[in-house]
Amino acid sequence: MPDQSVAVRLRGLRKSFGPVEAVAGVDLEIADGEFFAMLGPSGSGKTTVLRMIAGFESPTAGSVELGGRDVTRLAPFERDVNTVFQDYALFPHMSVLDNVEYGLRVKKVGRAERRERATAALRSVRLEGFERRGPAQLSGGQRQRVALARALVNRPRVLLLDEPLGALDLKLREEMQVELKELQREVGITFLFVTHDQEEALTMSDRIAVFDRGRIEQVGTPAEVYERPSTPFVAGFVGTSNLISGEAAKAVLGRDGTFSVRPEKLRLALDADAPVGADEHGAIGTVAEVVYAGAATRFVVDLDAGGRLMVLQQNRDVSSMEVTELRGARVRLVWNRRHEFAIVP
């Protein structure tokens, strides 16, 4: 009995290109209506997995199920998924409206309904009035929204997005992140989203799969992945990884091994003798570097016990004048023990 509530199920998925094993065994279940992110460095196989789900590549081994139905051997046009391509892949010889109508036209939806649904889709991505333009006359963000409308208008079971925001500039990107997220909530379609931007993955998704070298390293909610990374790779890739090891670990934590604590978990006490609570750890050091970043300031602190830690401190009440004066200051770093985690190398 196929499980209807699972939108996508991958079993033992593999793909080799000649000697290169791009995807080296991926098992994954994505629930209906999830906003799911695939995060990983360049070349880790995210795109390849997406393309196997869409049907552009056929797996070397394993299977792809959509809504409980095995589609491994089906052609792309037989699958109930749609893709927003990284380069948008808008048809350059068609107007915006024709692009959006394309999928309906192919499915022989009547003229009137087609027009109506396409117009609605364009409205949902806030592109009313752009119907007659050609893709060349749009900005990057607008193109991305056309691509989105073109996929959404078909009401697919799953929408695949391959770094749809990669080409946009930061400001626009942030705006689009919010829009995309809202849109997904509105339409309720499962979004499978590829990105190599950790913050994007953390802020937007319900769950994240972290890829490395063709394998999934960890699957979990943003908080799970960020706060309890299961491998050193995940710890390093998702967020800044402050490592304390060797002598320093012994001196500061009283233990052997390699430990990590996130920069934002550290409290910077200007008094080197500041008290350390029972459930806390502390370390004394010198501020080597102060980087003002608007909303926050990053301090690089050289520990007396050896090693250096990055500290992130929100600029709530301090001004930049105050923080930059801290360069060279003796400080004590304090953190709650529960925010340390051991790294298994």
């Binding site: 049907g55 552009f56 052609a75 792309p76 046009f77």
Partner: protein, 268 residues
């Protein structure tokens, strides 16, 4: 590529069939070069290598080949210079009549060869003759260069578009004047395009007969002209087949080299 298995198969089949269609006549040429029959009777009446030895001993073939190489090299050289200049002008400048320049460059290849041929013939005779310059290899080169310019122009234009100006700007930025930039950056980056288009230009010139007919002077016998003259002599027609067969085989070398060179440098 999302094509059904059937479609892939059909396309591959079409490609294979197309190649068969392309090569069967060439195979016949090769076969006929061993055909004992002097007028290519089909099926071949017997096997002989005497045409090959005749071709080997024929100084006419060698002279004609050499003439063709000279004509092709000359035309290609001119086409490379003119085509590159025009491509730079069109790609790097905005000016009135820019589209017309492109059209002008296409014209010699788009108009039937016989028109170009008689027009040039007429012009050469009315303009050059008073100066005591007759038709000769020079006029063949001029005629060929005229229609070869387009291949260079279009290839270089495409390459210029693709590479953009970044590398050249970087060079200027690093203190190189435009001449140095051309020598060290622009030219090496265009080399494969020049090579490919030069090869095509050379091939066009090498097999041209119509314009050649009208622009060649006394004693100037390019290979196609030699072939033309000899194909219509029963004793010589088989030798012509030998020459053609040899050319096919030999042509793989320059094409392969050019492909290799352009393949390795044009990855950008």
């Amino acid at each position: 590529m999302n094509l059904s298995r059937g479609a892939r198969l059909a396309l591959r089949l079409a490609l294979a069939l197309g190649l068969v269609v392309i090569y069967v006549p060439l195979a016949i040429v090769l076969l006929n070069s061993f055909n004992a029959d002097r007028t290519f009777a089909w099926p071949p009446t017997g096997f002989t290598t005497r045409w090959w030895s005749a071709a080997w001993g024929s100084s006419g073939v060698r002279d004609a080949l050499w003439t063709s190489v000279k004509a092709g090299a000359g035309a290609t050289a001119i086409a490379l210079v003119l085509g590159t200049m025009a491509a730079f002008a069109v790609q790097r400048h905005r000016f009135f009549g820019r589209d017309t320049v492109s059209l002008l460059i296409v014209l010699p290849i788009a108009l039937p060869g016989i028109v170009t041929g008689i027009a040039l013939n007429n012009a050469f005779r009315t303009i050059l003759e008073p100066f005591g310059v007759g038709l000769g290899l020079f006029t063949v080169i001029v005629g060929h260069a005229t229609f070869c310019v387009v291949t260079v122009h279009n290839n270089v234009l495409a390459r210029l578009r693709r590479t953009g100006r970044n590398a050249e700007e970087a060079s200027a930025d690093l203190g190189a004047d435009p001449f140095t930039t051309f020598r060290l950056v622009t030219f090496p980056m265009m080399r494969s395009a020049l090579l490919a288009s030069g090869l095509l230009a050379f091939a066009l010139s090498f097999d041209e007969i119509i314009v050649t007919t009208f622009t060649a002077g006394a004693g100037v016998r390019t290979l196609p002209i030699w072939i033309f003259e000899n194909l219509f002599r029963p004793n010589q027609a088989p030798v012509v087949n030998v020459v053609a067969a040899a050319l096919i085989v030999l042509s793989v070398v320059p094409i392969y080299l050019a492909q290799r060179l352009s393949g390795t440098t044009s990855t950008h």
